[in-house]
Amino acid sequence: MPYMQRDALIQASQFQSTAARTPPGLVVQQLSLSYPGNGSALVDINLDIPAGAVTAVIGPSGCGKSTLLRCFNRMNDTIEGCRYSGAIYVGDNNVLAAATDVTALRRRVGMVFQRPNPFAKSIYDNVAYGPRIGGIRRKRDLDEIVERALRDVALWDEVSDRLHTGALRLSLGQQQRLVLARTIAIEPEVLLLDEPASSLDPISTLKIEELIYELKHTYTIIIVTHNMQQAARVSDWTAFMNGGKLVEFDETDRIFTNPVERATEDYITGRYG
């Protein structure tokens, strides 16, 4: 949907609570992956990730959370010798199919990493970066996109008077929200967040969590976190992984009050593995 059209829709629906669009869910089928010289990192993962909700992926360090996340936008393609099989459907399209246009895929499926990584440019140029590549040139259009994205991540009020100063001068928490603004400025449908708050202080962390809550109606969000309380706070669904396998997937309420698998129970209650 073009940006102007989306704005018009949002304005038109200001007094209704109807979401402007419905993002797709993700279906993972028999996904396996191995890194060169490192054996299997993912083993036969089958998973239905619900649309327009937050799914948390939890599990011990090295269990394959980031690897799984990187499959959703084919980031693992950049790793030499990495092999995978299976299918991942975003809507009707199999992401893993050879014919997939990876650049187009990464516009649909945006990703935010643990360390905030804004470009060494102005705040404005960080957010306008994607839309400009997407062909938007008119200053008025770009201004609107930048303002909306910064408002969506609750950063506008803090930076509106210094949009043209360097992004790297922001605090870490602000940088991470800027990166999120940069990611949503090109209107992806799926957001992949890999421990997005783990380098932030508690207040910035809560702000990011609040954003996730706000954004989940318009995006399908998958968040990897090693912070179990964070998973419990922000997610609707939780996937617990161990040793490259999906151990249990269920509603977060269920996982955190009465998980089925003993391994899940031991992990979330902090018992010896």
Partner: protein, 237 residues
């Protein structure tokens, strides 16, 4: 059938110690409440005020334990953010504590009735039924606490199902007391006391049953408070 007994230890030894401490306090509180009911019912049945005084004295330490256990629950929730079985344990303990405290209150009421009735010779048409009801609720409490300690779903469900067994005795005793009031209008004051004691015993049975319900929640994560008998039996078959 005891389940989930084979929990591994938490990585945090301190957390293990905190959970052990709160479980021990709960069982201590349960022991005191059991003791209190025994004394109160003995006083009532023997028309002896001495055990009744003792029962009322115990109430203070029960109240103190209730406050202490609540504080421990709040502290663990705030500091440990427990999940899964740990979370259910804390929730169950908080509820069981409330039930135990109420049982303590009811037992004190029975004890006060015993003290009032001790000096008078009022008719006791229902002594046998009283005794049966008292024994029954004592047993229910003991078994529900035992089920809690062992996390035994089977034993807990049996306690809940057995709550209905005192209904017959309870209603017959009430009817007999009403008849006695008609025959001995001059004893109405004392007979009313017996009605209160009877109702207290019945409520103790209800609380024991609700303790047993918490055992099932703790062990299986299932809420059986509004389950029918068939649903209950399915849990143990």
């Amino acid at each position: 059938m005891s389940e989930k007994l084979s929990y591994k230890q938490h990585i945090s030894a301190q957390f293990n110690a905190e959970l052990d401490a709160i479980k021990n306090d709960l069982l201590e509180m349960g022991g005191k409440v059991e003791n209190q009911i025994e004394l109160a019912t003995e006083a009532l049945l023997q028309t002896d005020s001495e055990p009744a005084e003792a029962a009322i004295l115990i109430d203070r330490s029960i109240n103190r334990l209730e406050v202490e256990i609540d504080e421990q629950c709040a502290r663990i929730l705030a500091r440990r953010q427990p999940a899964a079985s740990d979370l259910r344990l804390i929730i169950a303990i908080a509820k069981v504590t409330t039930d135990l405290e109420r049982i303590g209150d009811e037992a004190s009421k029975v004890a006060r009735v015993a003290i009032k009735l001790a000096p008078v010779q009022s008719p006791q048409p229902t002594e046998l039924r009283f005794r049966r009801i008292a024994n029954h609720v004592n047993r229910m409490l003991r078994q529900s606490l035992d089920a809690f300690a062992r996390q035994s779903v089977e034993q807990a469900v049996k306690v809940v199902l057995s709550d209905a067994d005192i209904d017959d005795d309870y209603h017959s005793a009430m009817t007999e007391l009403q008849q006695a009031m008609r025959t001995h209008p001059d004893h109405i004051e004392y007979l009313m006391e017996q009605v209160w004691a009877l109702r207290s015993l019945e409520r103790i049975g209800d609380h024991a049953s609700s303790i047993a319900e918490q055992v099932v929640y703790l062990a299986r994560g299932v809420d059986i408070r509004h389950a029918d008998n068939e649903g209950l039996r399915n849990l143990i078959n």
